[in-house]
Structures are given as structure tokens and as C-alpha cells.
């Protein structure tokens, strides 16, 4: 699978916790700590991260990435961890539904052309085949 982060770079994380202290999800739910997740990943305990529902609490707001003094792409790492969780079959209900809609319609939200025309907007055709083929091609990337 293609990964958009470099495990090597994680060793520059000195666990200062600045990512967590600026995170609004951490403020609302103390069990969510991005710096802890990174620690687990760099220690090789990634399966623990993938199994937990914690990574699905991140809003992908990028505040942590912008704050990290070491330039670590925290959000990108957590986001990639989700895709890795999905590959390891830890899939939230929502994603099953979303993938199904994407494959059926080519979009995240099915088109409603009646509503569009009522508002004077032109119809848009759904194009599902592209998504299907892209998933197929990506599936072969190890």
C-alpha cells in the first residue's frame, strides 16, 4: 500500500505534546492524544492504533501539523493510518456506506437533478465507472 509518510521522519518526534495540546478533540476527549498515537506507531505498535476507534475522532483540521516544531505531518500520518486500518479490515460502518455510494454514483453524495432543476441549475450526470477503475488500479499497489 502506498504510504504518504516516512516512518524514518517519526524519529524526529521528541514527544513534546504540542500537537495534542493544540488539538480541540484532545480538549474535548482526553483519551484522544495524537502524540501518543505517533509514539505507538514509531514503537512498531501500529496494530494497536489501527484497531482502536481513536483515529476516527480526528477531524483532519491540520492544527497539529501546523504546530509541530519538528515539521512532522501529524494529520497526514493519522489520515494514512485510517486507510491502513481499512486495509486491515478495521472499517467503520460509515466508510462501507460511503464506498458503496462512490462506486454506484462516482460521487460521495448522489446527484439530485430534480432539486437542481427546480432551482434553475443544469443537471449533472453521474459517472461511476472512473471510481471503480481507480480503486481497482490502486488495489494492485502494494
Amino acid at each position: 500500500m502506498y504510504k504518504f509518510f516516512d516512518r524514518e521522519k517519526l524519529k524526529y518526534c521528541y514527544q513534546c505534546g504540542r500537537c495534542s495540546s493544540g488539538c480541540d478533540i484532545n480538549r474535548l476527549d482526553i483519551s484522544f492524544q495524537p502524540h501518543r498515537l505517533l509514539h505507538l506507531i514509531s514503537m512498531g505498535a501500529i496494530d494497536k492504533v489501527l484497531k482502536s476507534d481513536t483515529i476516527w475522532k480526528c477531524t483532519t483540521c491540520f492544527t497539529c501539523s501546523e504546530r509541530c516544531p519538528q515539521g512532522i505531518k501529524v494529520t497526514e500520518i493519522l489520515w494514512t493510518a485510517r486507510a491502513m486500518a481499512v486495509k486491515s479490515n478495521y472499517i467503520p460502518e460509515l466508510l462501507i456506506t460511503q464506498k458503496d455510494i462512490l462506486l454506484r454514483t462516482g460521487r460521495l453524495i448522489p446527484m439530485d437533478n430534480k432539486k437542481r432543476e427546480k432551482s434553475g441549475l443544469t443537471a449533472i450526470q453521474e459517472e461511476p465507472s472512473v471510481v471503480d477503475r481507480i480503486f481497482e488500479i490502486a488495489e494492485k499497489e502494494k
Binding site: M1, Y2, K3, F4, D24, I25, L28, D29, D53, W56, K57, C58, T59, T60, C61, F62, T63, S65, E66, K73, T75, E76, W79, T80, R82, A83, V86, K87, P92, E93, L94, L95, Q98, K99, L102, G106, R107, L108, I109, P110, M111, D112, K115, R116, S119, G120, L121, T122, I124, Q125, E127, V130, V131, R133, I134, F135, I137, A138, E139, E141
Partner: protein, 291 residues
Amino acid sequence: MRYAFYLGCATPVKALKYEISTRNLAKILGIELVDIPEFGCCGFPVKSMDSFAALLMAARNLAIAEEKGMDIIGVCTGCMAILSEAREYLEDEKLRGKVNGKLKAIGVKEYTGRVKIKHFARFLYEDYRLDRIRDKIVTPLASLEFGIHYGCHYMKPTHAHGHFDDPSRPFTLDDIISVTGARPINYPNKNLCCGLTIMGTAEDLSFRLAAEKLECLSNKGVDAMVVACPSCCIAYENNQRLAGKRAGKEFNLPVLYFTQVIGLAMGLSEKELGFELNRIKVDRLAEKLIP
């Protein structure tokens, strides 16, 4: 001024007032937004399923725009962030070569890295320029006060967006709205995320995030919240009652798209700005504008 109009998945279904007001605003500003039927999903939702598939989806859109010889203008902050990130990843020649090989297999010409991607607001700020907007104001909104919500992906990740705005003290939308004569206020949780991305996986946290900002702006007594993304609008407008319920509050805060605000100051009609589609009624606002 011709641009490939990237509508995305949410706007043409869930944010018709945004689409309508954007199209009509562009028209009177003389900006040609060209519809590209071949555009597909930007890859945002797919990034949580398969990182490479997400990149291919974004790259496909960039390649299509490039083939048409147009830069991209969009209205969804999520789409703009994902496409801009892809653009940045594809600066790497090796990765671009690999991606182009796959694009060929789905019948798309190669992407060479030339397409620029801008949110419509950023485009107005950087390319169209505010003085030209000012020239077209016919109904100054001097009596109105707004709380602007930028949306995280509007300017973050900053490296992908070319550092055009400052995430800790964002200013571009404030400056644009100020041109209409309205007053954008500063408020404590201005940089808070709308939370919509986790609505399906951590619902309670999502509602709590939305409620915090709704409560803050309600207490400040602003005339409306102003947004620049369909997702943020769903979080704050469509879900306003639900978010309030969780917080034990009842909110009644109108939510406007920045395009509706500028259009209003330029004398566009309610219909041209899609105001009848606003769920939280804006009558209060209209009353203030009629002397």
C-alpha cells in the same frame, strides 16, 4: 478570465444557494467559470480508504484541467485542500511518473504539474483584487456584523496552499467581507473546526465542536455567521438545531455564504443569491438593510 469550475460532490447537491450565488457573482464580476463534466470526486473521502486511490482521483482532475488549459477555481475548502496537496505531492517527478502511468490506463492525458488551484475567495483576494470589488458595491452593508468561519482546509495545510493565509490569524475573508461595508468581528474560537468530517464516526464530538462556535457567536449577537465551504454550512446551519439540543441550547443564528454577502452588497436579488434556500431565516438581516 476563464477558469475550470470545480464543484465537487457536496455543493451541487447540498449547497445550491452557494452554487447559485457563486455563479451569479462570477457573472457580474466578469469571471468565466467553465463547467467541466469530466471532473470527478476530488479524493477527500477516499483518503481514509486508500491513500493511493485518493491521489489518483485528485491527479485525474488536475490532468483534465491541464488538458483544457485552465486553472481551477472551487468553492469547497475540502476539495481545494485535497487537490492542492496532490499538486504538491506530484511535484515529485518519480511519483508523478508513476501516477501518469495509471492515468493513462484510465484514458487521461498525463499531468505535467502546471495547474493552479484556488478557492474562489482566495482568487478574489489574490487575482481579482479587492479594489475592483469595491468599485461594484451599490448597497454597503454598514449596519451588519458578521462572525466569519474560514474552515480548516481553506488555508491548511499551509504548505500545500502556498501560505496564502495565516491559520492562527486568518485575514483574507475578513478583508473581503470588509469591502462590503459590513463588520467582521473577532471572537475567541474563530479558528475552531466545524467538526463535520467526524459526523459519521464520532457524532457527539462533532456536535460539540459545532455547538461551541454557535454559542460563542450567538452570545456576541452577530447578524450572521459567514462561511466558505458546504461542509461547514451543513455543520452550522443544517445541523444547528441538533447541535443546540446536545448543548441544551436553542440557537437561531443565520448562516450565509461569503458569495451571498458580496452579492447582496452588489445589488443582486434574493433569488440570484439563493436566499430562499437559507434554512435559518435572514429576514432580520433584510430589515436592517432597508432604511
